[in-house]
């Protein structure tokens, strides 16, 4: 590990090269800015003049206007404020559960693909076992377990939601990464590095993993959108975030019944999920370009 900590000069160059290459991808730059705006809007949601839960039932289903920018919902609540506050839960759940699921998936997939043999057999059977669990069944069981827990901090905790979503989705990146490792570990540059005495850690982290970044990020962006939607589904099973706390998924779910009367209520959360996923996708795109070893050595 010491050789990693004291990075030789050419690796500092590489970090700089990656950063530069990332921002050369214009859409990736814009995407970072968009995501930053979304995160800041959620963090500073309390600056909105309206509370996300204060109701004015006589003023329901107002169309978007200068006072209520995104209109009002069926209880006369300001949809704009609800979207801002909803972003707190949805972005947290989306970003962290995806990160956790990818991290776990990469760890399992990398070890499995790199070492092969019995390590591969054991890890992949565990992965298969997780894949065979019917998701709904597991969630209902979890719901029953959490229901017995008296403490609301446990059964309504965002951390629990993040862990549950990650626990049910890490298998796909794990299989993907394993497949990539199986191919890459046979490549000449890996053999060469091994011949030079490179440790397993060094081979995995420095040589093989950077070549997998692209596919991993693509699968990550796909998972993020589904995590935001899954979160709202969990509250139907009695754990996770409960009403009246807004989340993009729950606003979208309740808006379905109002699609003819007040289509804007459903449009805004849908749009927010859309641009978040797009932003992550472009950031992933930029990162892939930046990390792609083939591109680095043929450019500039």
């Amino acid at each position: 590990m010491s050789e990693l900590a004291a990075a030789p000069p050419h690796e500092q160059n590489m970090a700089w090269l990656i950063t530069r290459r990332f921002f050369k991808h214009k859409l990736a730059g814009i995407a970072i800015a968009v995501l930053a705006v979304l995160v800041l809007a959620a963090v500073f949601a309390n600056l909105s003049p309206y509370s996300p839960t204060d109701q004015e039932p006589t003023n329901s289903f107002e169309k978007p206007n200068s006072t209520h920018w995104f209109g009002t919902d069926e209880l006369g609540r300001d949809v704009f404020s609800r979207i801002l506050y909803g972003g707190r839960v949805s972005l947290t759940v989306g970003l962290f559960s995806t990160f956790l699921s990818i991290a776990l998936g990469v760890l399992v997939g990398a070890l499995s693909g790199y070492f092969g043999g019995w390590v591969d057999s054991v890890l992949m059977r565990i992965t298969d076992a997780f894949l065979t669990f019917p998701t709904i069944f597991v969630l209902i069981l979890l719901g029953a377990f959490l229901r017995e827990q008296q403490a609301p901090w446990l059964k309504n905790s965002i951390v629990v939601v993040i862990v549950i979503i990650a626990a049910l989705s890490w298998m796909w990146p794990a299989r993907l990464v394993r497949g990539l490792f199986l191919v890459l570990r046979e490549k000449e540059f890996v053999t060469a590095s091994r011949a030079l005495g490179g440790s397993h850690t060094r081979l995995i982290i420095q040589h093989i993993l950077p070549n997998c970044i692209g596919p991993i990020l693509v699968s990550g962006t796909l998972q993020m959108a589904s995590a935001i939607i899954t979160e709202s589904g969990l509250s139907y099973l009695g754990f996770g975030v409960q009403p009246p706390t807004p989340t993009w998924g729950s606003i979208l779910a309740t808006a379905q019944n109002q699609v003819f009367r007040a289509p804007w209520i459903g449009f805004f959360p849908g749009f927010m999920i859309f641009i978040t996923v797009m932003a992550i996708n472009y950031i992933g795109d930029g990162l892939r370009d930046a990390f792609d070893p083939y591109v680095i050595h043929t450019s500039d």
Binding site: D54, P57, G143, P243, P244, N257, F260
Partner: protein
Amino acid sequence: MKIKLLTLFVVLGLILSACGGGGGGNTVTLILPEEPTTLNFFLADAAIVRQVADATSMTGLATINENGEFTAVLAQELPTLENGGLSDDYLTVTWKLREGLKWSDGEPLTSDDVRFTVEVLSNPDSGALVGTSGFDLITNVETPDDLTTVLTYSEPYPGYLDQFSYGLFPRHATGEPADMANWDWNRNPVTAGPFIVDTWASGESISFTRNPNYYEAGKPYLDGLVFAIVPEPAAQSAMMLNGEAQVHLWPGEFKADYDEFLKGKAQQYLIPGIWNMAIDFNLSAPFDGDPTAATPHPILGDLRVRQAIASAINYQALQQDVLKGSVSDSTNPFAYGWYKCDLPRKFGYDVEKANQLLEEAGWVMGDDGIRVAKGAKYAKDGTRLSLELQGYTAFDPLQLTEEFIVENLKAIGVEARIQNYDFSIIFGSYADNSPRAIGDYDMLIFDRGFTTEPQGYNFDAYHSSRIPTEANPTGGNYFRWVNPKVDAALELAGSSFDTQVRKDAYCEVGQAVLDDMPQVYLYLFQDNYGIADSLTGYTLNTWGSMSWGSQNWKFK
């Protein structure tokens, strides 16, 4: 390619219009949002079954009309004390069938079919899910002739009319009583009702044609009914707009919007439903491993806290603004039917009063706007006035109500935390650890409904012997409410055949609910149907369904 596309659209259009039913001629199309699994009412696992079965298999000895009164259908008259149909000791009931009755297949309908119906519904292995109350009390059935059935009961049963109001089974066209769940009859019933099944295209429609042997001469007026299965609300309203359907079950739009949208074509009709929404309070301590009423709830055990909660709810705004007038006011369990009690709310919307009650009860305002105990009756000092509000998921009006009440309670310094579970959990059994059964909840919001014979449900919900425990797992007194006066009133209501005595007893229970406040009633749902202006002879019946009285329908 263009021609191909055009053909495709034309064909698609034809298919779609065929799906829409339309029926044409003298046929009425009714819209169902979901498909029933059976036309046997006694096997009904969902409310949708009755909406269809009322037009065919649910013709029995009696029925409950739009005024909530029993009237004779296949019987010549209702058995009463006056006409001798009911014996003086209430233990013998004599039914007389009309003369010349026939089943839809032409076979005679006789007293033996009444006997067979008793045999099926008193068989514990029949698989019947509903409608079996009282059949286990019938100890003997005599059929002296083809028209007369004499029933002997082991104890007086006030619901003796109700139990024969949901249809009869033909012995010759069904099967073994213990095998009822598997009868072919369930999906193609031989019946005495106005219509019979013609074709059942699963997922599309169920077509009925008129029963040639229907007992009322000249009826039904229509040639047939088509129940079109259309899950999408927008498609349903479009069918009404295009005149492709005449009856629309449970339109999703509020009445004002619906009538505007379908002006000149159809209107939405609201009738008082039977679903009465209330917040139940747990009067006993939750999560103490003891399901009995022994230990009072630390917060809700104090009557003043319950009264404060009742005073914090803006009922008017909830009914009119949040639910747009789609519900009507309700203050107690007896909100309709012959047992209806008009009792005023004891604690109406009054925030000042609510705050005052909480101050008196030893709950002082905390720094975060939520009250904390300081000298409260049961709670330790410093306890936050925070309660869980349980409900069931995937039902919009319920969630809106919860969210509205959370805000109402916040205004008086009470924190209510919504915790919704799936239907199966909220209404689960004691063995399933359903929170209300084992007593591990604070507040629970759901809607209950009674039939015309409310004794069973009420005794179960309010009698102190019905507190669910390990030894008594099926009990329905989820509040853990013990009130000897209520127990006595319920016992009286269950043993008397005098309607006025029974009603007075129920009203005493209703008043006790308002006084002791084990629950707070919020509103009564109304059933809503969209009905085309072209249809006449339609009767709206709280106790019936969309297709109740279809033998009287006509086109203008």
